[in-house]
């Protein structure tokens, strides 16, 4: 049995849940959990003032029941266990997480999995900007782990990403993989302009139906039947992200870039 957190009433004020992780709740009583301070707007309040808490936290499972669009930092810095959100979640979901699993049934805000180091995040809906990206001013985005998004994503996905996998079933915004250092981003829908801008290393796999407008600082290396693609496809199927791998079997165009940076990035484009 999991611990269940639900909002007492709809609020228009953001709530920051940073630190309310399965590890922290695991050995606490419901009373202790209810007394935990959370930031509500600019005020520190007890969790119980805004949320109902029930169930049993000992198995490391947490459920957020309801629309948490205004909740920041769900699963931030989590190390183990699992978090399930029944509807939407706000920004900074899984910020800096090191391990464990997060599943959001609805949509999430910006900075999903930002600076995460390990673990897996699944989102059934769409996500905002800077998925797996760096926080403002940081030198690194995500350095490990997996982010799987069924819907669309915003701009700057994988900004300064260093390692790990981001897969997007829907469409991606501008500056996909902006300044990325390494890691892999897969987009199955369409991709807006400036993909790979400033990337040093890393892999972008863009399998959408229509080709994105690419930067002139990427160079065509030719057609490829690289084993990377079917391998990635099989992996995504094995984790239940896609049902069939047909699109990963077709030959692709390979480009290198961004030659304004190191130029060791790979960009795979479906025909």
């Amino acid at each position: 049995m999991a611990i269940c957190v639900s909002l007492r009433s709809a609020s228009t004020i953001p709530i920051d849940f940073t630190g309310l992780t399965p590890k922290w709740t695991q050995d606490k009583s419901l009373g202790e959990i209810e007394k935990r301070k959370v930031l509500h707007g600019r005020h520190q309040i007890r969790l119980a003032e805004i949320c109902r808490v029930s169930g049993d936290p000992s198995d490391g499972r947490m459920e957020f029941d309801g629309d948490f669009s205004l909740a920041h930092g769900i699963g931030a810095a989590m190390t183990l266990g699992s978090i399930h959100v029944s509807s939407n979640a706000g920004c900074n979901v899984g910020l800096g997480m090191q391990g464990g699993k997060i599943h959001v049934k609805g949509a999430v805000g910006d900075f999903l999995g930002s600076e995460m180091r390990g673990g897996t995040i699944r989102v059934d809906g769409s996500a905002g900007n800077s998925v797996g990206g760096a926080q403002n001013g940081s030198r690194r985005g995500m350095t490990g782990g997996t982010i799987l998004i069924q819907g669309n994503v915003g701009d700057h996905v994988g900004h300064l990403m260093r390692r790990g996998l981001i897969a997007v079933r829907g469409n991606a915004g501008k500056f996909l993989g902006y300044n990325m250092l390494a890691g892999t981003i897969v987009v199955l829908g369409t991709c807006n302009s400036y993909a790979g801008a400033g990337m040093k290393r890393g892999t972008l796999i863009l399998l959408g139906k229509s080709q994105p407008v690419l930067l002139p600082t990427f160079r065509l290396a030719g057609k490829t039947a690289s084993p990377v693609l079917p391998l990635t496809g099989r992996h995504l199927k094995s984790v239940g992200f896609i049902e069939n791998t047909a699109r990963f079997a077709e030959p692709c165009e390979l480009l290198h870039g961004d030659f304004l940076a190191l130029g060791k990035g790979e960009l795979f484009l479906s025909n």
């Binding site: 926080q135 403002n136 001013g137 940081s138 030198r139």
Partner: protein, 541 residues
């Protein structure tokens, strides 16, 4: 009998200015000043502070730091990453909230300085065009008296006056600029070199006799003419010099030439650590310490003073009026960077930097800083600084004090550094240890004297009642990082780390007596060149 005397009883005083080295004496205060004990022995003070067993010193004076103004605020904007993980300063009934990291927010800066026993601080690099910003931030930096030095070493009017051999114009301009920008002293940052860099990319290494493009003057001329003008204006702190070629291997020759160019005039060379390197060919791998040679010159020239600009290991933010230096650092470390061209006046470079003890260069910089403290014979000629935040935070001052007072601690830290440091510097051979009296000189009495602040840095009658009381401890870092009490102008500001009151503090600036006849000429040049109106330039009030 009604009176407003405060008496600090039984403390052990360290007041080098008045020749008091660890003597138990009482101190009487009234109206924000230190006063002579009342002649009537029956007078009882309205308030008594028991300082028996405690160490009493004048309040600390930081004569070179970067705490307010455009570059400091730009650094705050550049480094949200630096603040995010730093413990925030929470609001209390008496204090405001703030953020830390290498560039704390304004109010937090005031509180943290005060909590460290400092009562006065000078921002060392303010472009006159944006001096109003520095003063606006000063208004939000409580608990300290503060002032700023105005950047003049690359000012177009300064260089034109020198080229045209018009020392009277130069003198009046410096007086006008200090008054208009509410500055305390002229500051030369890489004199001529910033302007040269603006013309020619790559010319980071402007030497004393290189010509500044367009202006046809040399850094040597700028240094000696500004020093002379400042002497003629009888400024309390004539000229504060950040030498050319900061950080470059082999720059010690330029530093020595700068000292020589001052001839017999007074001058202060700042963050001298960054200017004391042997080696050459812009190859950092060849760097070594040339402190012994430079300190020799200082030891035989009492009119010259230095502050150190000690480097400490860890992450910080480099901020400087030396635009080319910022560019160099950002390229060297591949880090983010802000550069600013302050039109007719100055430049600016800001970039994050991390000093690592396993890096030969960084460890050498650390050792060279310590060599400076230990090789300048007269402590009145050397001042403690980290060039906050360039070499490290002002919060590291207690650690520097321990490094100077405890040679075992020092040699242990040296052992943790890159092993080649001992081959390239003399630090391992230096076993001098500072006394509390020496520390009182390099942190308060000395800077007060160098700055010409007659009522600061000492505990004699007439001095401002800026007093720090410490609990003695064998570990000097412990002793200095948590003063028992800090008193500012007679008011209790800090007790054992807790802020008790937040006085506004005074602005220290000079109203130089200059020849007003030159103003129309300055105005004509100004209206011709600046992006702001003459009436809107400078600081009101």
């Amino acid at each position: 009998m009604e009176n407003n005397f405060t008496k600090i009883c039984g403390g052990t005083l360290y007041d080098p200015t008045n020749g008091i080295d660890g003597e138990v004496r009482d101190l009487w205060l009234a109206d924000g000043k230190i006063v002579a004990p009342p002649s009537d022995p029956h007078v009882r003070p309205a308030r008594t502070i028991d300082a028996s067993g405690l160490v009493v010193m004048p309040g600390g004076i930081d004569m070179h730091c970067h705490i307010a103004g455009p570059k400091v605020n730009a650094a705050r904007k550049l480094r949200p990453d630096d603040r995010r993980d730093a413990e925030p300063v929470h609001r209390t009934a008496t204090t405001r909230s703030g953020t830390m990291g290498s560039v704390p927010s304004t109010f937090a800066t005031g509180y943290k300085y005060a909590a460290l026993g400092y009562t006065t601080a000078f921002d060392a690099a303010v472009p006159p065009l944006l001096a109003a910003h520095a003063h606006a931030e000063f208004a939000d930096t409580p608990c300290l008296d503060k002032g700023c030095y105005l950047l003049m070493g690359n000012n177009h009017y300064v260089m034109q006056s020198i080229r045209d051999k018009e020392p009277a114009k130069l003198r009046s301009f410096i007086g006008w600029l200090l008054s208009r920008g509410k500055g305390y002293a002229p500051k030369l940052v890489n004199p001529g070199g910033v302007e040269a860099w603006k013309h020619r990319d790559g010319s980071r290494s402007t030497g004393l006799d290189d010509t500044v493009p367009h202006f046809d003057v040399t850094p040597r001329q700028i240094i000696s003419e500004v020093a002379q003008a400042a002497a003629d204006l009888k400024l309390p702190h004539p000229v504060h010099i950040h030498c050319n070629q900061l950080g470059m291997p082999g720059n010690w020759r330029t530093t020595l030439e700068t000292m020589q160019a001052l001839e017999n005039r007074c001058g202060h060379l700042t963050h001298i650590q960054f200017h004391s390197y042997g080696g050459g060919d812009a190859d950092e791998g060849t760097s070594s310490s040339k402190v012994p040679q430079l300190a020799d010159y200082i030891n035989s020239h009492p009119q010259l003073t230095v502050d150190v600009g000690q480097v400490l290991f860890g992450e910080t933010t480099s901020m400087t009026g030396d635009g080319p230096l910022g560019h160099f650092l950002a390229n060297l470390y591949g880090s983010k960077w802000i550069s600013s061209d302050v039109e007719m006046e100055a430049g600016c470079g800001i970039s994050p930097i991390e000093y690592k003890n396993k890096s030969l260069i960084h460890a050498l910089q650390w050792a060279i800083g310590l060599e400076w403290y230990l090789l300048v014979e007269d402590p009145w000629q050397v001042v403690m600084s980290t060039d906050h935040p360039n070499g490290g935070s002002f919060l590291a001052y207690p650690q520097i004090i321990r490094l100077l007072m405890d040679r075992t601690y020092r040699s242990d830290m040296l052992k943790s550094c890159h092993p080649d440091v001992t081959k390239r510097s003399s630090l391992a051979d230096l076993d001098r240890e500072y006394s509390l009296n020496d520390i009182a000189i390099i942190t308060r009495a000395g800077p007060a004297k160098i700055l010409g602040l007659a009522d600061k840095g000492h505990l004699g009658p007439g001095a401002a009642a800026d007093i720090t009381i410490y609990t003695p401890d064998d570990d000097k870092e412990t002793m200095f990082e948590l003063p028992r009490m800090v008193i500012k102008a007679g008011e209790m500001v800090v007790e054992q780390g807790e802020i008790r009151s937040t006085p506004q503090g005074n602005i220290l600036h000079v109203d130089a007596d200059y020849d007003r006849e030159v103003e129309p000429d300055i105005k004509a040049w100004f209206e011709d060149t600046y992006s702001v109106r003459w009436e809107n330039y400078g600081v009101e009030g």
